[in-house]
Each structure stands twice: as C-alpha cells, then as structure tokens.
Symmetry: C2
Subunit: 271 residues, 2 copies
Amino acid sequence: MNIALIGAGNLATNLAHALTRAGHKILAVYSRTMQSAQVLSERLEQAFPDAEPVTPTDKLESVTHQADIYIIAVRDDVLHDVAANLRSLMPDALIVHTAGTMQMDVIPGKGRGVLYPMQTFSKQRIVRFEEIPVFVEAENDADLTLLKELASTISNNVMAVSGHQRKSLHLAAVFCCNFANHCSAIADFLLDEQGIPFNVMLPLIRETTAKLSQCTPREAQTGPAVREDKKVMDNHVCALEKAGHDDLAQIYRMMSDSIMAFKQKVHIKNS
Amino acid sequence: MNIALIGAGNLATNLAHALTRAGHKILAVYSRTMQSAQVLSERLEQAFPDAEPVTPTDKLESVTHQADIYIIAVRDDVLHDVAANLRSLMPDALIVHTAGTMQMDVIPGKGRGVLYPMQTFSKQRIVRFEEIPVFVEAENDADLTLLKELASTISNNVMAVSGHQRKSLHLAAVFCCNFANHCSAIADFLLDEQGIPFNVMLPLIRETTAKLSQCTPREAQTGPAVREDKKVMDNHVCALEKAGHDDLAQIYRMMSDSIMAFKQKVHIKNS
C-alpha cells in the first residue's frame, strides 16, 4: 500500500520501519518541524536503500494526495487539529490515528479508523513488530478489512476492538509499562544515593517479568505487602521519610495498601 | 559445606536447591510445621537422588549441631525469636540470616552474618542462582571470607555490603519487583472488566524490561506523564473514577505526578 505518515516521533519512526520492511511504500512524512521529517526520511533511506525515497515536509498542504491511507501519529493534544486540517485537504481519504485513548471520531468525515500498536516506542530502539498486539477500529466494514490486512503485514497479533476497549487497553498499558518503569526509576534514585549501580536490579526485574508468562500478576506477587509484614513496611516508610523522600514514602504506602486490598478483591470475585 | 536450613518457604526452597546443586550438604531443614519441612526435604531428594537425605524437623532443639553454617530464612517478623532460640542452642555456631531489611545484630552472639540473595522467589519456580546478586555481611573477617566463598559457589555476583546499603537494596527491590508487579495486577484487573486477556500485555512488559539493559529507567520512560499530556491523564483518571475505582485513580495521579517530578530531579542533579 501507499502510505503517508503524519508525524515523525517515536511511534511514527517505528511504524515507518515496520511498514517499509513489510513492502509498503511510505510516500511522505510530515512533521511540524522540517528537521524531524528529514531525520526520519533519511533514516528510512539508510535502513532501506532499495526503497523509493520518502518526501519529508512540514506543510500538511504539501502531503501527497496519492496515498491509500494516511496514518496520523502525533501527540494526543494536537491530534484533533491535525485531523481536522488533513480532512479539509483530503475529503475522501482514509485517515486513521494511532492513539490509545482518543476516540475514532476525533477524525472528521467517514473514511476513518484507528490502528493502535500497543508498545513502548523510542526512536533509538527499533522494535520488531511481529509480536506487538495491534488493535484496529474503522467506521465502515471495508475500511476495517483493509486495516486488518495492513496490520497483519506487520503483526501476528491483530484484533478489532471498540473505542471503549482500546481506552482500557491504553490505561492498562500505562500501569504495566510507564508506572512499572517509574518504579525502576525510583529504585535507581534510591540506589544512586548509596553508590550502588542500578544494574544489580536487572536479574530481579527480568525474573519479575518472566513469572508473568507462568502465572497471574496476583499469584506472582511476593514481598512485605502481600505477606502483610507490617514491621518491614514501617521500616521502609520510616527510612524514606528520614531521607527526606516524603513523596516516595507516600507512594510506598499507597502501593502497599493496594497490594493488600487486592487480596480482598480476589476473595470478593471468587465468592 | 554442611548446612542447616532454618525455614522452608520460597527463599529456603530455592536456596536449598542451589546449595545442593553446588555440592553442599543440607543436613537439616527446620520449619514451624513438620509438613513444610517434609515437603522441602522430599523435593530435594527427588531433585538430587544422589545427595544424602535431609532430616526434616519442626523442633529447633532437634537441629543437628554438626553444620558449618546455620542459614535462617524465615519471615522478618519471627526472625528475632528464631535467631535468639537458635543461638541459645548453638552458642558458638555461625548463624546468618537472609533478610534484606533486618540488621545483622538481630542475631545474638559474635558468629553472625547475612547472606541476602536479591530475587523474587516462589516455591513453584526454581530459579538459577548464577546471575542473582548475593549481598553478604559478617561480624568478623574470617566469617565474611567464608560467606563470600559459599555465596560464590551459587552466584557469579557476590558483593559485601553494609547493613545500611542492604536495606536500600531491599527497598529498591520492593519498588522494582513488588510494586512493578502490582502495576501488572492492576492492569489485569482493568482488562478483565473488558473481557480482554492479560497476556496481550506481555510484549509491552517484556520490551519495558528489555529497554533497561540499554538505558536508564528515566531515559526509557514514555507515556502521557513524561510527555505532560494533561488531556490523556485527565481522561484516564476520569475513566477510573467513573468505574468506581477511586483507589486506582489515586495511584494513577500519584505515579504521574512523581514521573513529572522526576524530570525536575534530573535537572537539579545535573545543574
């Protein structure tokens, strides 16, 4: 398929590589800044020297009208404006966005849909798309079929979901990925104070992740909170407060309370 | 070495396997309940049919006096009593505990130390010890050398640390492991409400972990909070509150605030 990419950030960069690898043509890359659009275009030309060159632009008006699909991968807070401007230029085009939490109808008109790859993307790290779940939605059946086909060329894990389900997926992903990663950032901060390198934590973090392939997160839980070991918890909170980290002590308390509360939630669900 | 193991829980089970695999002899396993002591003894006999049989007991008085080292792996809240009782029976023995947060001097007498393997242990899942960091401490140099030697037979990553450093390591581990895992438990809970299986999250969780081998947790951070995308954050909090999950909304807010605050902390450290 011929694709125009609106955006040149982490997701756009990874998507562009996956789509080109799957044999699609990226005709154009738009970014608010010409530099970002050029950086992505040049990276693609380096990674795929045999592919046709990509036209970078910082003007929506200059984006080709020849694409089969326009994929918007921009910040959620500018998505509404970008989608409206693009639609006014391309009244009949199939325009999709890639945002977890935004509804499909943030895009005006009827040729619209969503292609949401659920992963944490960085420009520095090009991930393999095959395993990444891609959730699709479209206004009409023909576009949904087309989106499923497109997504299936880059991922083995394509599902059609409602906007409501997609929002829950995104929210769950924020917990699993961003908040879990922040727990590591806090650990890094605490170890740094003691002159201990963060990488001593990596075997523990890897095992924590590996366990989730074998059992549910609740079953996998260990540590003072799930044991309701009040002495250790008080000791930890006290150490954080003494070091002046009242914010981290508050997080410690709240997460521990929630771990203990989840033991009850299991009972309520099971009863 | 000849070893007596005081405890038969998750850590004791994993430690017993690692020590036996490394060629040490577990002479005795003590647990408060005879059943737990027997279960571990039988598992060891099944896993290592050529090793000498282990004597299970639920009476500290029955534990052999022939061991070179007594390793206590019990809950922190009973450690004090168990250590005191054991010392009264073995005035001159080398007794060590395995707890992250407890000070070495919870064990009376002079032949004392700590052997703290930093990992999340389950009885169901016997982990390979080689990569696990093991932190050791002892009252005197001879015992420290002996503990280092013993730990080095099961791990490639042995470090002597102070009690203060060990406490920070344990606290950091609670964040990296228990709290990160609880983020997955919350995600599981939210997806379950939408009829979506938790395993769709596994590629995301694996990538979140994999990134940490290449960059710091702060550098790895993505998502609405680090982008300061207030619209998405408000949307998520609102969705949680509407679903009656005020507790999870509070965690969402606090973690997001902390992610944003950590961007400032970097600036203060760098300036």
